[in-house]
Amino acid sequence: MDKTVPGRKVMTRKASDNKYLHKDFHVSMNILLKYIYETFGKKEMVNYLIQYTDAYHKPLSDELMSGDLSTLCKYFADIYKKEEWPVKINCEADFLEIVQDACPGITQIKEKGETPCPYYLETYNTVYQRLCESTAFEYELEYFDEETGACKQVFRRKEKN
């Protein structure tokens, strides 16, 4: 309970008292990307995103290696729900399509008066291409509007030769 007496305020919270949604983390992420890009160049920014994908998305990658796309569908439904962001997700056994009218990251960065890092789209392209590596699936960013982050992403099962 918050207690307010003149000149003294106390606030106590448990983790369960709030939902976890700190949109300004998009701004911090952009600062991190810009730092890597401006200090070390685009290639190293891509290498950083590969390192991140290999570390963070390992459980998802393991699921994709088993040939099952359903975990990836649930993953995207979950993160967009947590972001409270409108999106169209079409998931079938062999493909997954994600269409958005704007990117939550780019939107927040711009709302705060900042400019998205050059090659911001690599947070989509590099991350999900890497995720699909050595799996039965491939990723395509069919279009990406650099201004808004409106895009269409497709994961599809690779054709057998």
Partner: protein, 145 residues
């Protein structure tokens, strides 16, 4: 997309990456730039406008959005603001992720970000961190007149 809910692991890997490229010195340079650019229009501005109470305003917003487990006290009579972080949401998340190892000095970024901003406003900043248990305490004080 890297969701804002996935930022913490991305941040931790970012620390590892920058350190691998240029050592601790490069990482501290990044933290310094992050402090300047991210906190200038938020924490710094609030302290300029509200004094010590600006700390309460700033962390009321961020700690609630980050779903932290904390007790925060502003005592303007004593000229002191404190946070007891019972469970840091960032380090807590990293400790829960068994498939990832957090950056070895992940918790060092907090004082690196906040201390320079607070001291620039003529306040003192003290901290104690128990990184293995995702807990810490921060005390920010007005100098005695």
């Amino acid at each position: 997309m890297i969701s804002c809910t996935e930022f913490i692991p991305a941040y931790s890997e970012g620390f590892k990456f920058i350190e691998s490229m240029g050592g601790r010195e490069e990482l501290e340079k990044f933290w310094s730039e992050l402090s300047d650019s991210y906190l200038k229009n938020s924490l710094q501005k609030l302290i300029e406008e509200e004094g010590l109470a600006g700390c309460y305003t700033y962390w009321s917003h961020s700690l609630n959005e980050e779903a932290a487990d904390f007790t925060m006290i502003l005592d303007e009579g004593q000229g002191e603001f404190s946070i007891e972080m019972h469970k840091c949401p960032s380090k807590g998340m990293l400790l829960q992720m068994k498939h990832m190892n957090p950056h070895h000095a992940y918790c060092d970024h907090c004082p690196a970000l906040y201390k320079p901003i607070v001291e620039k406003q003529g306040l003192t900043y003290e901290h104690e961190i128990d990184c293995d248990n995702a807990s810490c305490s921060i005390r920010i004080k007005q100098p005695k007149k």
